[in-house]
């Protein structure tokens, strides 16, 4: 009996050690996964993440816990993800601003090299709407109408400098050579109200926020910004098919992990993320938001991100938009 306490202690240590080793070798994922979202609860980014998370958790067999870290157009959360341990327990909802932030903000991380991109989750398009009293009815008429007047005569609204609403118009001007005047508003609501009241003539709104108003006749839909027509309104032509070939703006939400996350973990996350995106629940929720579920491969997503960053760097430079 007199040795037993020491023996017992030793046994306990061995047991604990074994348990620890077991945990270390337990198949991934062995604990909940942190899902960083770069905006406060309630924005589209948050809603996209919350639409995917339940099914994602179910397939991974571990809960995916959403952590909102708002600020600086998602770059605060993005920086956190870039600096997190590459163990598969931190993932990031890549915000649409990921492609434009390098050109607008002074970032302390590399938007490509610091990440392992997993999959492009969903994309939505913008819809060019005009005030009902504004004469042009098509993209061709709009270009001709804009060129008839001195540069900067026509006002277009946006939900803020550097947003896709703003940059859709900048890309349009960049590719067609027309010149409009940018009137930025704080957020989509005030921007749309300005279009309703005629304070601005043009607005590239996200499809779900403007489609109903276009159908009610409060504003007039002209064209969508995707390469293909949006399933939400297949009757509306794209800008690209209406005489500006190659024009494309999408609002893209994706999933990424820190760079150097082991390949098997990336593959596991990819497989379950795509499964979640393909489940009818998630598909329906995303479609109600006006977003089309995607779910491509890590390679395709990385190439997409590289293209987008290069494209916007060019447009932002040409438009003379200066960030910080």
């Amino acid at each position: 009996m007199h040795v037993s306490s020491a023996t017992r202690l030793l046994a306990l240590f061995l047991l604990l050690g074994a348990a620890h080793a077991a945990l270390a070798q337990a198949p991934y994922p062995a604990k909940p996964i942190r899902f960083l979202v770069g905006f406060p609860p309630g924005g589209t980014n948050d809603i996209v993440a919350r639409a995917i998370a339940p099914k994602f958790s179910e397939y991974l067999g571990q809960s995916v816990v959403i952590e909102n870290r708002g600020g600086a157009n998602a770059s605060i959360a993005t920086e956190l993800a870039a600096r997190a341990a590459p163990d598969g327990y931190t993932i990031l909802l890549v915000a649409p601003g990921h492609a434009t932030n390098p050109s607008l903000l002074k970032l302390t991380f590399d938007s490509i090299r610091d990440f392992s991109f997993i999959t492009l989750a969903a994309e939505s398009q913008n819809l060019l709407v005009v005030h009902p009293s504004f004469p042009p009815r098509s993209v061709k008429e709009l270009i001709a109408f804009s060129k008839k007047y001195p540069p900067g005569t026509i006002n277009y609204g946006s939900s803020g400098t550097g947003t896709t609403v703003h940059l859709s118009a900048e890309l349009f001007q960049f590719m067609t050579g027309v010149k409009w005047l940018h009137i930025p508003y704080k957020g989509g609501g005030p921007g749309l109200i300005a279009l309703f009241s005629g304070e601005v003539s043009l607005y590239f709104g996200n499809v779900p926020t403007v489609i109903r108003q276009a159908r009610d006749g409060k504003v007039r839909a002209v064209a969508t910004t995707g390469l293909k027509r949006t399933p939400a309104a297949p009757e509306i032509p794209t800008v690209a098919e209406s005489g500006v070939p190659g024009y494309e703006v999408t609002t893209a939400y994706g999933v990424a992990a820190p760079a150097k996350t082991p390949r098997p973990i990336i593959e596991r996350l990819h497989a379950d993320a795509v499964r979640a995106l393909n489940s009818p629940d998630v598909q329906e929720r995303l479609k109600n938001l006006g977003a089309d579920p995607v779910g491509n491969t890590p390679e395709q997503y990385t190439a997409f991100m590289q293209n987008e960053i290069a494209k916007w760097a060019k447009v932002i430079r040409a438009a003379g938009i200066k960030g910080e």
Binding site: P40, I47, A72, I183, P184, G189, I193, K322
Partner: protein, 496 residues
């Protein structure tokens, strides 16, 4: 009487057991989060958002709406008791509400806040039912020039916010203005005064400024003097307002409701501005303005009525134009969108149960709030008898939780501490925090709209005088200036 039929129908919807239960849950939760600083309706609604996936649309929106206007009730509680603004809109209530509490009149202050809110909530709801669509159209007449003129008028009127030295008051407005412009400039996209700190790119949050200036600074000041704090705890006189209190509060409540209802419809101005505006109005027209800032009951009734009326009429742009007037409204709109419901003028006809059910539920919710809040007055007042050495760490803790929960970033907690120190220094210099806060709210709005108006007019300043609504505000601004300058000049003449 179409409206009457519709309302009867709406009450039929709202009085179902399920909808009543969700309405109660919403307003109870709203009261609770309103009491906590920072933990606002936006965060709560967003958190409960996934639950609405599994609910039918009507109870879902009834509950979310209940949280929103319930928070306006709860927000005043900590403002009055411990100078801690629980909600953005309650910052103004701190000024006189807290002074009333210090004089042992916390009970009447709390009860007045609840009753004024109830009145305003009922009127606001009635307005949605009667005039929702036309008010929505009215909001469209407000362009950049109109907003600029309105903000200018508010800024000029803000001179009455100051109790003492006018120069110090002006300095505070300017300081607030400077804090307000921190962050990305809307027009150019450039970050200002951010010193390369990513957290500052979005500016300094309202909660951070208000909690730091009012609550933290007050605690530091209190801790300085050992006994001063125990003074008022002993002499709590009467829980309910007297007949005289009610008479004094009646007209300010009515005026506050009117002002609040107008601001609520205008997107981007919201409850915070409405409570400032109505406070300034009351002080301006008061027979004895010097009572303000020393526990005037009008200073509690009017802003509380205003922010509640605004909370109610803020639904008008969302329901009739399908456009959210604030971030909170945007989340509610998203909840409806995810249910496959598109809002807009047609919602009244497409989904009458939703529209009229929501309106009826707001009445019921407001009544529930009074029933919930009046008995609580006694409980809250008892809280003041807790020794200060226990009370103040709890208040500080709530300040930290509140600030942290807005962005989940400890940076905001540190920033609030810094602003608390600033607030203490300002208190020592006898500079008041209210004008600073007003400058902080108004300055960026004025700048944004002024630059937008000039962009649209291509630099032509006559735009402020050629548009009728803008011109009316400009004339009013001039009148306010004259009224302010004339007595001052006369006063000097008499040598007082």
């Amino acid at each position: 009487m179409d409206i009457l039929n519709n309302l009867v129908f709406g009450f039929g919807v709202a009085f179902s057991l399920q909808n009543l239960a969700y309405c109660f849950a919403g307003v109870a939760l709203g009261t609770l989060i309103g009491v906590l600083p920072g933990v606002g309706p936006l965060v709560t609604i967003a958190m409960l958002f996934p639950i609405t996936f599994h609910l039918p649309a009507v109870p879902a929106i009834i509950m979310l709406a209940g949280i929103f206007y319930g928070a306006q009730y709860g927000g005043s509680t900590t403002s009055i008791l411990v100078n801690l603004p629980g909600e953005t809109a309650s910052a103004v209530t701190c000024i006189d509400g807290y002074q009333m509490a210090r004089r042992g009149r916390a009970g009447p202050a709390l009860a007045t806040a609840a009753l004024a809110s109830f009145f305003a909530g009922c009127v606001g709801t009635l307005l949605i039912a009667l005039a929702g669509p036309s008010l929505g159209e009215w909001a469209l007449r407000f362009g950049a020039a109109e907003y600029t003129a309105l903000m200018l008028m508010a800024l000029v009127a803000s001179a009455v916010m100051t109790q003492g030295d006018a120069v110090k008051g002006l300095a505070m407005v300017v300081l607030g203005l400077l804090i307000g412009v921190v962050g990305v400039d809307v027009n150019s996209g450039m970050a200002r005064y951010s010193f390369g700190i990513l957290e500052l790119i979005d500016g300094v949050g309202f909660t951070v400024v208000a909690v730091g200036l009012f609550a933290v600074a007050e605690i530091v000041s209190n801790l300085e003097s050992r006994e001063a704090r125990e003074v008022y705890t002993g002499k709590v006189t009467g829980l309910m307002p007297t007949a005289r209190d009610l008479k004094d509060a009646a007209w300010p409540t009515v005026r506050g409701t009117a002002v609040g209802a107008c601001f609520g419809v205008l997107p981007g101005t919201g409850p915070a501005l409405s409570s400032f505006a109505t406070y300034m109005l009351e002080k301006r027209i008061a027979k004895d303005p010097s009572r303000f800032g020393r526990g005037a009951i009008e200073g509690v009734a009017a802003p509380e009525a205003a922010n509640n009326a605004a909370a109610q009429t803020a639904f008008i742009p969302m329901l009739t134009l399908g456009i959210p007037a604030s971030a909170t409204m945007a989340v509610m709109l998203a909840a409806l969108t995810l249910q496959g419901i598109a809002t807009g003028p047609q919602v009244m006809f497409d989904k009458p149960d939703l529209f009229w059910g929501l309106i009826a539920s707001m009445w019921i919710g407001n009544a529930l709030l009074v029933i919930l809040n009046l008995p609580l007055v006694g409980v809250w007042v008892k809280l003041l008898t807790v020794p200060y050495r226990w009370l103040f760490p709890s208040i500080i803790l709530f300040c930290c939780i509140g600030n942290y929960s807005v962005t989940n970033n400890p940076f905001d907690v540190y920033l609030c501490a810094v602003i608390g120190v600033l607030g203490y220094v300002l208190a020592k210099l006898e500079c008041e925090p209210a004008p600073l806060l007003l400058g902080y709210v108004l300055g960026p709005l004025l700048e944004e709209n002024l630059r937008r108006a000039l962009l649209i007019s291509r630099g032509d300043p006559t735009v402020f005088f050629t548009r009728p609504i803008s011109l009316a505000f400009m004339i009013a601004t001039l009148l306010i200036l004259v009224v302010m300058v004339v007595p001052a000049a006369r006063g000097k003449h008499h040598g007082t």
